[in-house]
């Protein structure tokens, strides 16, 4: 069965895989941005607090900060985005993931939205 995905109000998603949190930006976020041309990823080993700046995603006309949905340590980044930032447009919530973090407190997940709540949140924005 599919692993549960959580969402933030800043349009990041996070999913626990093998005890590690995988994070990226939502499909809604990528449509709002338009063609993604560059992603600035954090350094592996960086410790980032929840809601701290973790990455920057750029289209030709905008640059947006991406915040850490949870507190933790970056253990991997998606190197493929360097050559192929278009992955964020094509597969925002899967192949276009940004980074993986090791987290201390899985309880923080409960404070995020589930898919249904996020869909409702986004509909209200439009």
């Amino acid at each position: 069965m599919a692993v549960k995905t959580y969402y933030t109000r800043e349009h990041e998603w996070v999913r626990m895989e093998d005890g590690v949190a995988v994070c990226g930006i939502t499909d809604y976020a990528q449509t709002q941005l338009g063609d993604v041309v560059y992603v600035e990823l954090p350094e592996v080993g960086a410790e980032i607090a929840r809601d701290g700046e973790a990455a920057v995603v750029e289209s030709t006309k905008a640059a947006s900060d991406v915040y850490a949905p949870l507190t933790g340590t970056i253990v991997a980044v998606n190197d493929r985005l360097e050559e192929s930032p278009d992955l964020v447009n094509e597969s925002a919530e899967d192949q276009g993931w940004f980074f993986r973090m090791e987290i201390g407190d899985e309880g923080e997940l409960d404070e995020l939205m589930d898919e249904e709540a996020y869909q409702a949140f986004v509909e209200e924005l439009d």
Binding site: Y38, E40, E58, S59, T60, K61, A62, A63
Partner: protein, 439 residues
């Protein structure tokens, strides 16, 4: 008024269309007591001839470089500018165009910027160059802040032989941005040891090539020393014609080159407008300040050019931008690129060789008073009795002999040193005249 085409009849018609009783009524949002009822206390409008006469009189009170032997340098140089350069930059489609934000009707500007960026890379030996900065000093200051961003450090080590105005421009930013600038004392004869000043906190070492006093030195070891400590090497060039004769900074390990490009294509114009050149390594491209022009294709697949990587810039990134720069030195970069295209490989090399040969010829005439062992087209001369006094005296004789070091380093005990620049515009008679006047 010759520049204002709206007639009285137009004005009445248009006010009627707007539904306003008068032009003054359109200013109703201005606090009433701040709205001036009469013109301010300045002269009334003047004919073209009248303006020309009055400005020509002011111009006539200055001594133009072409009026006699001329040897001033120190960051601004007199070179011959081919007639076609000035003709081409005055074409209205260049002169009266805007920053190329609408690329479909600005391919002329964009293509020359792409060519300009390439020329700057070739000259400096670097991988990527931007579309220009205000001048060499602001380019150098921006290089330091870029090095701070790249290394995430905040201490710059600055050569004592960096032009003091460049040092001060960077120091102003340092004061307000809260980074350290550690400047070494000047060493007119060269031989400065900067490597020992670099430590684990250093973001960059800033060194001028050729330096203020004219010295040229191999920077490779300094680059290695900087890189060993995780710092960048910033190389400043104030006389870019030198790069037609000298090894380029990029070959010696420079990470950023900040240069004054006035020497090619642009008049001295009392110090401005000049042309800041800025070149770096591809890996630091996204930390660069200023505009970048890039190649792409249009909807029919034809090659074309656009401003790109704009997310670094203030109009998109606002308070997170790499720099607040907006307007740069567009038309000066056009003059530079046209002049350099005219010169080409052979022309630039010959021009540089002529400059160097002239400087060597003068240095030979001045003999042991020359302080600078190795130089390009500018060197330092020791004049017992004071350089400023000599310059003033020679100005009275119709010779502009150079820049006294005391003007740049007042109170530093360097009052007997004179900076002398020799370009292709000085002929043998000029060299003889200066040598004789200084003897």
């Amino acid at each position: 008024m010759r520049y204002l085409p709206i007639t009285g009849a137009d004005r009445s018609d248009m006010l009627r269309a707007i539904g306003a009783p008068s032009v003054e009524a359109l200013f109703s949002d201005v606090p009433e007591d701040a709205l001036l009822a009469e013109p301010v206390d300045l002269p009334r409008h003047a004919s073209e001839f009248e303006v020309e006469r009055r400005l020509s009189r002011l111009a006539g009170r200055n001594r133009a470089a072409g009026a006699g032997p001329f040897f001033c340098g120190a960051g601004s140089y007199r070179h011959h500018i081919p007639a076609s350069v000035d003709y081409l930059i005055q074409r209205g489609e260049f002169l009266t165009s805007y920053t190329p934000y609408q690329p479909e009707i600005a391919q002329g500007t964009l293509q020359y910027l792409f060519e300009f960026q390439t020329q700057v890379c070739l000259l400096t030996g670097m991988e990527v160059a931007n579309a220009s900065m205000y001048d060499g000093a602001t380019a150098a200051a921006e290089a330091v802040t870029m090095a701070n961003r790249v290394t995430r450090r905040s201490k710059a080590v600055v050569s004592g032989n960096l032009h003091p105005h460049y040092r001060d421009t960077a120091a102003t930013l340092a004061r307000f941005q809260g980074f350290q600038l550690e400047a070494a004392p000047p060493m007119p004869a060269g031989g400065e040891d900067l490597a020992s000043r670099i430590d684990g906190e250093t973001s960059c070492v800033v060194v001028q090539y050729p330096d203020l006093f004219g010295n040229v030195r191999d920077l490779s070891e300094l680059a290695e020393a900087a890189h060993a400590k995780g710092a960048l090497l910033v190389v400043v060039v104030t006389e870019v014609v030198a790069l037609g004769a000298l090894r380029p900074p990029g070959e010696m390990g420079a990470d950023i080159v900040a240069a004054e490009g006035q020497s090619i294509g642009n008049a001295m114009s009392f110090g401005g407008p000049h042309l800041g050149l800025f070149a770096a390594r591809t890996r630091h491209m996204r930390q660069m300040p200023g505009r970048l022009c890039g190649e792409t294709v249009d909807a029919e697949g034809r090659r074309g050019y656009v401003l790109t990587l704009a997310t670094r810039e203030q109009h998109i990134r606002r308070e997170r931008a790499t720099s607040n720069i907006c307007t740069n030195s567009g038309l000066c970069s056009l003059a530079f690129t046209i002049h350099l295209t005219l010169l080409g490989e052979t022309g630039l090399r010959r021009l540089a060789a002529l400059n160097h040969a002239g400087a060597v010829a003068l240095a030979d005439r001045l003999g042991e008073r020359v302080v600078t062992p190795h130089f390009f087209n500018e060197f330092t001369v020791r004049l017992d009795g004071g350089a400023a006094e000599a310059v003033e005296r020679l100005a009275g004789e119709g010779i502009l002999a150079g820049v006294p070091v005391s003007r740049l380093h007042p109170g530093a005990g360097l009052d007997d040193l004179l900076l002398v620049a020799v370009t292709e515009t000085a002929d043998t008679d000029d060299l003889d005249a200066l040598a004789e006047a200084l003897s």
